[in-house]
Amino acid sequence: MNVIECNGLTKMQGNHTALDQLSFSIKEHTITGLIGRNGAGKTTLLKILAGHWKETSGEVTVFSKRPFHNLFVSVNSIYIDDQLAFSTTMTLSEILNEASRFYPNWDKQLSERLFNYFSFHENQKHDQLSKGRKSTFHMIIGIASRCALTLLDEPTTGMDAAVRKDFYRALLRDYLDHPRTMILSSHHLEEMEDLLENVLLIQNGRKYLHLPMDELKEYGIGVTGRTEMVRQWIHNKKVIYVKEVGKNATYAVLKREGLPLEKAKQLGMELTPVSASDICIYLTNQTKGGIDDVFK
């Protein structure tokens, strides 16, 4: 069953096209990573799915319903980012208590355990928390609410490495016990590789790729060799990224599909796998050259 279906989803913000003819669907009980550069449209997409924002054109359905201000979608989904607003007079435990009354699947025991594990104090106020602590607290709400659709928009903002690791682990553990549909947007793809089943890569509001994680890992291949040879060999092939490395050597990333790799080996070129994180960066590279070229 598809939980989310988008068909030609377009979102205009003033004159800027935030989402451009986006079509994809997401199956039930999967974890999808929403990957894209800054300003690619990740937050816009998630806010439309959460029912906060209205699509300009195209069709979007969540649980077979149009999400915009739909109460049924609202009760079965939760949108978490680092800007959740809470009353300044309520304590953290009061906020969790209120959240538990809104979400029917709320696991009180789990929320209390996570609350204690991350050593929050009951009487702390939300606006006294640091950026990373806020993200951690929001994450507790996101996990404990056990919504059928959990949308996490850059959930690890400000978290330190140890907390991030704990967070991914907690997410996975709870997902295995209580399968649900999750979408995570993040810049840290390398950390989430083991967690994600699918990756939705968007660029400039358009869908670039929607692949299972395993296929994404195999998507590209790195080729290193003498510059002339590499340049000649990659001619007429799908080149994703080229960079000169050292003296008279070039590193190129190509789409693996249909490449005569044996021949490349015979020519003395070195083949290396490209990580999912790197391939996403290379695929969405919008700049000409590298940052070094700016300083030339």
Binding site: F72, S74, E94
Partner: protein
């Protein structure tokens, strides 16, 4: 994971009780405003004096009207505040849509009006106590003895007036949320109409219509009816608006 069905009444109740807990600071500001009003009231609203030979009588009048006016202003501003981004965003962290957000706001404003009415009527007693304890008046009396029935109808009409002022504030808030130009347009409109209608009785007629009515039932119809219409317009205005921008 199975999907949960949603009961709109339940969501409104939850949001209402969430708001009561989250917005306690609004009531703190109300108490402060009413205390200031009591302080202003201590100067009295009027005085008459007469003397025969060496003996003089002076009568000082005091009234709780200032408290009521201040509470109306508070209700008005509170309603505007509820429509601002800071307050609406807290709604949409959890389960909400336009309808539940607006209806729970209206319920909250009604309860705020009830509490405002109770405290502003009790503030009159505070005024009397302060008079007794700190002022050296020879003799004190209420201008009129009030029966229980009158007190109750006075209490209820106070609620209705406060509720109506919150409805006006809520509409102005929604208008300015819809378009920031209204921040300029509304004061310009009010000041402009004061200038234009300076010679005519239209403003007097409006205030007469609402405030100079001795029939409880007629006040009820006017104030609650006006509130209903204003809230309805507000809800239509906020419908279809995006949240958490």
């Amino acid at each position: 994971m199975s999907l949960n069905n949603v009961d709109i009444k339940r969501v409104i109740r939850q949001q209402f009780s969430y708001k009561c807990k989250a917005n306690t600071s609004l009531f703190t500001s109300m108490i402060v405003i009413q205390l200031i009003a009591v302080l202003f009231s201590l100067s009295g609203t009027g005085m008459i004096g007469t003397s025969i030979g060496y003996n003089g009588v002076s009568i000082q009048f005091y009234s709780g009207d200032i408290v009521l006016v201040f509470t109306m202003i508070w209700a008005f501003i509170t309603a505007i505040m509820l429509t601002t981004k800071t307050y609406t965003e807290t709604d949409y962290v959890f389960v909400a849509n336009h309808l539940t957000s607006n209806l729970s706001n209206i319920a909250f404003l009604f309860v705020a009006s009830v509490i405002g009415a109770i405290t502003s009527l009790l503030a009159v007693y505070l005024l009397k106590v302060v008079m007794l304890l700190f002022f050296d008046h020879g003799w004190m009396a209420a201008s009129q003895e009030i029966s229980v029935g009158q007190w109750v109808s006075g209490f209820l009409t106070t609620i209705f007036y406060l509720f109506m002022f919150s409805a006006i504030g809520y509409l102005i808030g929604q208008l300015t949320q819809r378009n920031k130009l209204f921040i300029v347009i509304i004061p310009a409109f009010i000041i402009g109409s004061l200038v234009i209608f300076v010679g005519s009785t239209i403003l007097m007629d409006i205030s007469q219509f609402y405030f100079n009515d001795s029939s409880f039932f007629s006040v009820f119809i006017k104030t609650v009816g006006t509130s209903f219409i204003l809230f309805l317009i507000s809800m239509v205005l906020s419908n279809g608006q995006e949240v958490r921008k």
